[in-house]
């Protein structure tokens, strides 16, 4: 009976997995936030391979050595209650590992919840990303433009996405640039990222939101700041205004292709309060016309 064959196979496939990173989107980051996450993941895989190795080696030894066979026919196994020292060892070592990973977690979580360290001196470009049915709206309050199902931003410049939803909870994810964050109807959440290479990145919703969910993708393009400025100017001069009626018809549609407008919906349809306000359950201020497109400093990442 070959008990270990499949185990070896599993083990080696884990090893094969690591070098093949570049085809693994998540482990092929193109910006500091995603890089932090990718490093964290690889570190945790390595630590966990160590844990697996210990368990697997012990396991194989036990099974090979103590199986019932002809030669140990009359053998009567001893009565063992346990052993304080052994048990203490396998309590202490996991505690150390968990403590180490806890520190890593808190540090990296803090890092990715804020503007990436090397870009702290730049003012982030604010883009509101909101979902409705199975599409994404991107509003640029500073530029006064809006796009649907694609988003452009300059390379090497911090971008602050402010996320909310006109319907079910969705989750905004550009795996090569940053980890995801929920977009909800009753609060605004924040996602910071920087792209360090120019190019198109796939973004999508990861939180199941109904029939059209599988197709709920968008393209995120990072471009040189010149190209970006040119694009903004183009949009301002050629694209049509986003009227309230037009926006309503957009919201109602299930899927639409790419769209571009020379004004945003934020003026007539302001975003909800930010998360901490929501958690106070104070709903009297749900009408946020007063906090509309504030580009001032935010304190939401303070903790």
């Amino acid at each position: 009976m070959n008990k270990k064959g499949p185990l070896y196979a599993m083990f080696f496939s884990l090893f094969l997995l690591l070098p093949g990173c570049s085809s693994l989107t998540v482990l092929n980051p193109q910006g500091p936030a995603a890089k932090t996450l990718s490093d964290t993941i690889i570190l945790s895989i390595l630590v966990m391979l160590g844990v697996l190795a210990v368990v697997y080696i012990l396991y194989i030894i036990m099974l090979v050595k103590y199986r019932a066979k002809k030669s140990n026919e009359g053998y009567i196994p001893p009565h063992e209650e346990g052993n304080i020292w052994l048990e203490a060892t396998w309590i202490a070592i996991p505690i150390i590992i968990v403590a180490f990973l806890s520190v890593v977690t808190v540090k990296t979580t803090h890092a990715v919840e804020n503007v990436p360290a090397d870009y702290k001196d730049q003012k982030p470009l604010v883009i509101y990303a909101s979902s409705s049915n199975w599409k994404w709206h991107f509003s640029y309050p500073e530029e006064g433009i809006e796009t649907v199902n694609y988003v452009n931003f300059p390379v090497n410049r911090p971008v602050e996405f402010r996320l909310y939803s006109f319907g079910p909870i969705t989750s905004f994810w550009i795996p090569q640039l940053a980890g995801q964050k929920y977009a909800m109807s009753d609060m605004t959440t924040y996602l910071n990222l920087v792209a360090e290479t120019q190019g198109d990145f796939l973004g999508r919703n990861t939180n199941f939101s109904g029939k059209g969910y599988a197709q709920m993708e968008f393209t995120a393009t990072s471009m040189s700041s010149d190209d970006y400025d040119k694009w903004v100017k183009d949009v301002k001069s050629t694209a049509s205004q986003l009227t309230e009626d037009k926006f309503k018809s957009l919201l109602a549609a299930a899927h639409v292709g790419r769209e571009t407008f020379s004004s945003t919906h934020l003026t007539f349809s302001p975003p909800p309060a930010e998360h901490s306000e929501h958690m106070d359950m104070d709903h009297s201020n749900m009408d946020h016309s007063n906090m509309e497109m504030s580009t001032d400093e935010h304190s939401h990442q303070s903790n």
Binding site: V26, T40, Y66, Y75, E81, V98, L101, S185
Partner: protein, 649 residues
């Protein structure tokens, strides 16, 4: 009355018609079979009205096996639909219904009832009791579970199944975004069976605390009984949360309240919190008893006592506490900040410590043993390396930052199947093979058992390991289709092959039950495995009163001590035995609840009120009933014992 036939219709597709026809055929077949063989009376007297914990346990297990196949077919359909890019087998709506019911059925109507079935059969025997504390309540629990499950199952053909995921996040699950009756079924079917589960929790806590044989102190209890005790404490704390959440959901959907909706201060994340405050402990409800099952089996087949008994108990207690402190790891990405995420990361990772303790204790139970590779032991041994992969990937997911990349991806799907399948499914299969001879008096065939085992173990890894990689490639869960450019195709195809292999394994397993029932030799002494704990000290099959004489326990593993250290177990003379009498009311209550649920699903108020009054009437009838059971006279016990081989006295 607003009777509108349209609401009942599910729009046509070959699959749905197939399901309708097969449900109709099976029902007709059962009715005709029962009539032709004149079995209606037998069915009613021996099964539908029984309050015997062993029979109730068997019915739980039968229902769970059926649900395993229902959920398994769902799984196959999903895997087929995603086996290649742009498949056209299921449309989005059906895929959504299928993964929702798959998750619900596997966890609530397969894993949990299977475990409750095993604990019904085994626990009273393991503690030397004659029954559970409240035998009739036990029957109520079963029938509520059963009819709750039936209510969910008919949704596929009448009105449409729930389609917002097993977690039913709001506002997606609200009337606005899920206008079919599917999520009405969700709230009512889960509510009905959940009430039954809560009663089971109370019943088994009392049973274990109050009905142990003399001398069985808490720290002498078999590990499975310990795991069941802790599980039931979790049930009693967790299920009320589900009850409340489902009730609020029902108000939102049926009566227009706005607890979780988008308008008027409804809070979507309140649902997510309530759901996971119940939902995370729920996964421990299905996994802790598995730890108990493995402990029994590994000790028995290494011919050793369990290593580190005390730390095994302690670790389960710690896990049960921690399981209530980790729920927010299901939505790290909702933006609650570094402090909150950090807290929940640490509590979640902390669970790895007691779990590790258990793994090492099992490994050291094997050490210096004499290990025999029977089918139940094979499943228990396979559990260790596979569950460890589930565990370490769990730690990886627990790291909040990293989870921003795994959340809602196939990596998560791989992880929880790596935990749930070895942790719950292998365990119940192992327990099934292990205790089967106790209940039925013969073993399952070992050769067929091992065939099924290898199919299941290897295919499992083929089916689920690729999903880890798919997750890292960026494939999210619950996607019914994807394009070829994504590059997800090949790994999904491998995974589909694995799912097919799993199906073959399960078919062999069921064939084994059939084959063994016909051909396996009957077992003589009731102890086919040379086991250690009390349940093996009575006959197989088990007489209705379990033990003719109440055993006196003087150590852990008392049956082993009796066999090998000549420690006497049964010292008293046989006297008359008190038994509860059968009753049809729990079954009737289940039926009435089923109709109440069904009418509520379709907002048919007048019939619903009638059914609601029916529930009250049955409850009143039960509470005013004066039935104190009956006695089996001593001489009848003695003849039964002699007929069964008379070993007990």
């Amino acid at each position: 009355m607003n009777f509108d036939l349209e609401k009942f219709k599910v729009h046509g597709e070959p699959l749905i018609y197939g399901a309708m026809i097969s449900i109709a055929l099976v029902s007709i077949g059962i009715v005709v079979g029962l009539t032709v063989f004149r079995k209606w009376g037998w069915l009613w007297r021996e099964w539908l009205t029984t309050v015997d914990h062993k029979r109730i346990g068997v019915m739980y297990i039968l229902a769970a096996l059926l649900m395993l196949f229902r959920g398994g077919i769902d799984a196959l359909m999903m895997r087929l639909q995603t086996a290649a890019p742009d498949m056209k087998f299921l449309d989005a709506q059906h895929y959504n219904e299928v993964f929702t019911t798959h998750g619900l059925i596997m966890i609530l109507f397969m894993a949990m009832p299977f475990i409750i079935g095993l604990m019904n059969v085994v626990v009273p025997l393991q503690i030397g009791a004659r029954d559970v504390a409240f035998p009739r309540l036990n029957a109520v629990s079963f029938w509520l579970f059963f009819f709750g499950a039936m209510l969910l199952n008919i949704s596929f053909v009448i009105g449409g199944s729930p389609d917002a995921g097993w977690s039913a996040y709001f506002p997606l699950a609200s009337l606005e975004f899920s206008p079919t009756v599917g999520n009405n079924y969700y709230s009512l079917a889960l509510q009905i069976s959940g009430i039954g589960t809560l009663m089971t929790g109370v019943n088994f806590i009392v049973t274990i605390l109050k009905m142990r044989a003399p001398g069985m102190k808490l720290m002498r209890m078999p590990m499975f009984t310990w795991s069941v005790l802790i599980t039931n404490v979790i049930i009693v704390f967790a299920f009320p949360v589900l009850t409340v959440a489902l009730a609020l959901m029902m108000f939102d959907r049926l009566f227009g309240s706005q607890f979780f909706t988008m308008a008027n201060g409804g809070m979507d994340m309140l649902w997510a919190n309530l759901f996971w405050v119940w939902g995370h402990p729920e996964v421990y409800i299905v996994i802790l008893p598995a730890f108990g099952i493995y402990s029994e089996i590994i000790a028995t087949f290494s011919k050793k006592n369990l290593y580190g008994y005390t730390s095994m108990v302690a670790s389960m207690l710690i896990i049960s506490l921690l399981s209530f402190l980790v729920w927010a790891h299901h939505f790290y990405t909702m933006g609650q900040g570094v402090m909150v995420n950090g807290f929940f990361s640490i509590t979640t990772m902390a669970i790895a410590v007691p779990t590790g303790v258990k793994i090492f204790n099992w490994l050291f139970t094997l050490r210096k043993g004499r290990i025999s590779f029977t089918t139940p032991m094979l499943y228990s041994l396979a559990f260790i390396p596979i569950f460890t992969i589930g565990g370490v990937t769990g730690v990886m997911l627990a790291m909040a930052s990293a989870d921003y990349q795994y959340h809602n991806t196939m990596f998560l799907v791989a992880h929880f199947h790596y935990v749930l399948i070895p942790g719950a499914v292998f365990a119940v299969i192992a327990g099934f093979h292990y205790w089967f001879p106790k209940v039925f008096g013969f073993r399952l065939n070992e050769r067929l058992g091992k065939h099924a085992f290898w199919w299941i173990i290897i295919s499992f890894n083929v089916a689920f390991f690729p999903l880890f990689i798919l997750g890292l490639k960026g494939m999210t869960r619950r996607m019914y289709t994807y394009s070829a450019e994504t590059g997800f195709g090949p790994l999904n195809m491998i995974s589909f092959a694995g799912a097919l292999g799993l199906a073959i394994g399960f078919v062999i397993l069921v064939y084994n039950i059939y084959w063994s029932t016909r051909y396996m030799p009957r077992d003589e002494n009731g102890d086919p495995w040379d086991a250690r704990t009390l349940e093996w000290a009575t006959h197989s099959p088990i007489p209705e009163y379990n033990f003719a004489v109440v055993p006196k326990v003087k150590s852990r593993d008392p049956f082993w001590a009796m066999k090998h250290d000549k420690q006497p177990l049964f010292e008293d003379p046989i006297t008359k035995i008190h038994m509860p009498s059968n009753t049809g009311k729990p079954f009737v209550l289940g039926v009435v609840f089923f109709f109440l649920g069904f009418f509520l699903v379709f907002s048919m108020w007048i019939p619903a009120i009638v059914a609601g009054i029916g529930v009250l009437i049955v409850l009143a009838a039960m509470s005013f009933e004066r039935d104190h059971g009956f006695y089996i006279p001593a001489d009848k016990v003695i003849t039964t014992e002699q007929k069964l081989g008379g070993g007990t006295v």
